[in-house]
Symmetry: C2
Subunit: 440 residues, 2 copies
């Protein structure tokens, strides 16, 4: 048994949280989007939350974890959806949100502490004419380190691909959980060892990321009488090299019914596209909309004040809004690869699997990725739905598992496993998440 009073004493001036209710809150994420994960994860919680403010404190915490062999789980803002930051075996949750220093922003690159909120970072980069290459729909509270550790892409991925794509992450600093914890720097491809590894193999303390030039973005809603037009419009906009955008989110009827705040623009839950467009591309957008028989029902310059931010209705915020109306709804994450496959699934499943697409670039090509809303009945049926997609040539990154390799990665990532062997030899970090570790 670990005596946490001793631990707290040894941590000295480092901030901790001992209140059980608060610890509970800081041990959870949005795993409850999955009815499969609820019974597995709902009672998991840490013994102690520790909140470092700088790298020295992180190093000190790592030393204590080694000394007492304490399980350690890293947490950003807890906006993940598969229990990425939920401790399975108690121990310490390392809350990174006070590690929020911006070290520098220059010439289109930012160097920051891992716990910085994405929205706060962007507020600063924009002063120099830059913004993040991609952000999650949770960007207002999500941390950059959490996005790298547990995310994969987001708004902006239609231009820059995914976080894991070469060139999207320059450098990370990592505190190890070796016998003598130390700081390691990883550059370029080397960062793949910790990128989207759920914090299983090192504590990312600092990140250096390339930025994107900031445009004046305009939110636009387009409606379509039929879904196939919306689908084809999405692909055409994605492939229009002369039209500058950073979000193409397509929703089949009746998903829009869940967007209460957008009711005036989508009164009948219309098939719709939620877009973020460069102001300079609004005119050609209108021409494209006309070509696909769409109708623009909403347009809002984001540099002006607005109560609505369309980003917060896209990616997994769509699921969030749907579940606010019908908590029986869950979701999938699917690479369809082609719009023909989307059409096939649309016709096959009907309302049981409501099509929600986000277009993004994969290996230079814009493809539709699905975050379909599923009317949940049983686990068996959910697995049948997944299987049917896979048998028809689609790739599902299963959001109903907390295991790293059973989600998007599928295969054991030897590079990440080897890195864990090196920097977490005692297997203290985010225990139970990396399947390869148990098998080796």
């Amino acid at each position: 048994m670990i005596d946490y009073y001793t631990i707290i004493e040894e941590l000295k001036n480092i901030k901790t949280i001992e209140n059980v209710e608060e610890i509970k809150k800081l041990s959870q994420d949005y795993y409850y989007f999955s009815p499969i994960l609820i019974p597995i994860l709902q009672n998991k919680q840490a013994d102690l939350v520790v909140i470092p403010t700088n790298e020295e404190e992180v190093l000190k915490i790592a030393q204590i974890c080694i000394k007492y062999k304490i399980p350690l789980t890293i947490r950003g803002a807890g906006t993940g959806n598969y229990g990425q930051c939920i401790p399975l075996n108690g121990g310490i949750v390392l809350d990174m949100t006070e590690m929020k220093k911006i070290h520098w922003i220059k010439s289109g690159v930012a160097c920051v502490d891992a716990g910085i909120k994405i929205s706060l970072l962007e507020r600063e980069t924009k002063k120099q004419g830059w913004e993040l290459r991609m952000i999650p729909s949770t960007y207002k509270i999500a941390t950059l380190g959490g996005f790298i550790g547990g995310g994969s892409g987001g708004i902006g991925s239609i231009n820059y691909g995914q976080l894991r794509d070469r060139g999207n992450l320059n450098k990370v600093r990592v505190v190890t959980l070796e016998k003598e914890p130390r700081i390691i720097e990883l550059f370029g491809d080397e960062t793949q060892q910790v990128n989207h590894a759920y914090g299983t193999n090192g504590i990312i303390t600092q990140l250096e990321i390339p930025l994107a030039p900031a445009y004046n973005w305009v939110d636009v809603i387009v409606t379509f009488d039929n879904f196939i037009s919306a689908l084809k419009f999405g692909q055409a906009l994605a492939d229009s090299d002369g039209i500058t955008k950073k979000l193409i989110s397509i929703h089949a009827q009746p998903i829009a019914n869940y967007f209460i705040a957008l009711k005036s623009y989508l009164p009948n839950g219309e098939n719709c596209a939620l877009l973020s467009m460069a102001e300079i591309s609004l005119y050609p957008l209108q021409e494209l909309v006309k070509e696909y028989q769409g109708k623009i029902t909403y347009q809002q310059d984001l540099s002006k004040n607005s109560n609505i931010n369309l980003i917060e209705f896209t990616w997994n915020h769509t699921t969030f809004h749907a579940r606010n109306i019908d908590s029986n709804i869950t979701y999938l994450q699917t690479f369809f690869f082609t719009i023909d496959k989307v059409e096939k699934m649309y016709n096959y499943f009907g309302d049981e699997v409501m099509i929600h697409l986000e277009f993004l670039r994969v290996g230079g090509k814009a493809i539709p990725a699905g975050l379909q809303l599923v009317k949940f009945t049983t686990e068996k049926r959910l697995n049948e739905i997944i299987k049917y997609h896979e048998e028809n040539g689609m790739f599902i990154a299963n959001p109903h598992t907390y295991i790293l390799e059973d989600g998007g990665r599928k295969n054991i990532d030897i590079e990440q496993l080897n890195f864990k062997k090196k920097v977490d030899p005692y297997g203290l970090m985010n225990q139970g998440k990396m399947k390869a570790w148990k098998n080796n």
Copy 2:
């Protein structure tokens, strides 16, 4: 017979050139890259060159052309390669280079007179953090109006596609050659009526174009032991969404032997890639180069002073340098669509057709386009080479014709023809270039 002394008198204060040698010079372009075009075009020349400085003067010139039924051919800097601005039936050459006013640059859009030099325009846009979405290799002297009228794409097309792609041209003002000449404004898709129409259907006087955010660009040369590695590297870089670039120019051995000024970096005419890279993407570029067993032999930040500008060795500047060494060399313009097709042609033709590629985006996908160097023997053989490419599924935009539709467009463009019927009812503009006009 038209009496040009009367014309000059009627033109009053508008600048004209009457010197025969100067008229000769201003009636030519780089058509001599084609041995087929030389005998056809070498003796063509205007009777008079007129140089307007503003739209009112253009309108005045149009009125006089109508009054006397004078053939009118518009000229930018004369950097075209198929006689786009060569008058086939004498008449007036309208030299647009004194129409060079920048009306405004704001929020990523520029409004300028058609005769502005692209390099001068970019010098101004860069002060606001913007640059042109694409430029020709002749950008130092080429005019924007000439690029739109006679060009198709260039450096930057790897990001924004071609000039004709929706969203790359906001607006044009056009002076007509109707009975009563007037000024027309065309917006968005409407600009297709005059885009790449060789000035056969209206005088473009003013353009409004969307810009691209300016990066700090770095010239890079990479060499490869074998061409197929260079080819695959080019496609991989084009498809790397996280790596920011604006030029991927690939050259098979021994093309680099023609680049005398680059001799120190390409001593043996190596297979090579000439690149323009964002400074923030240099590190991931190095990683990609390593993956394809390339070697970086040159790297130069363009914000520093440099005698070398790699852009001026790419696109049709490659042909220019090759012809400086061996005037027997000509070229092709080819959409290969896939790198497999490039490999097939590379193996089939060997040194007779030396592979020079420029990667660009077409409909959302990055594809290799060829400006292959051909060792010219006979017209018959040249046509055989073209035919072989076409029979194997490639598209050739024949650069050995001055006819609009026999070049890149292939089909009669009804929209452009109808616009010509409307704005040039007497058929005075760039006579003999639009085949559809003769047939109708």
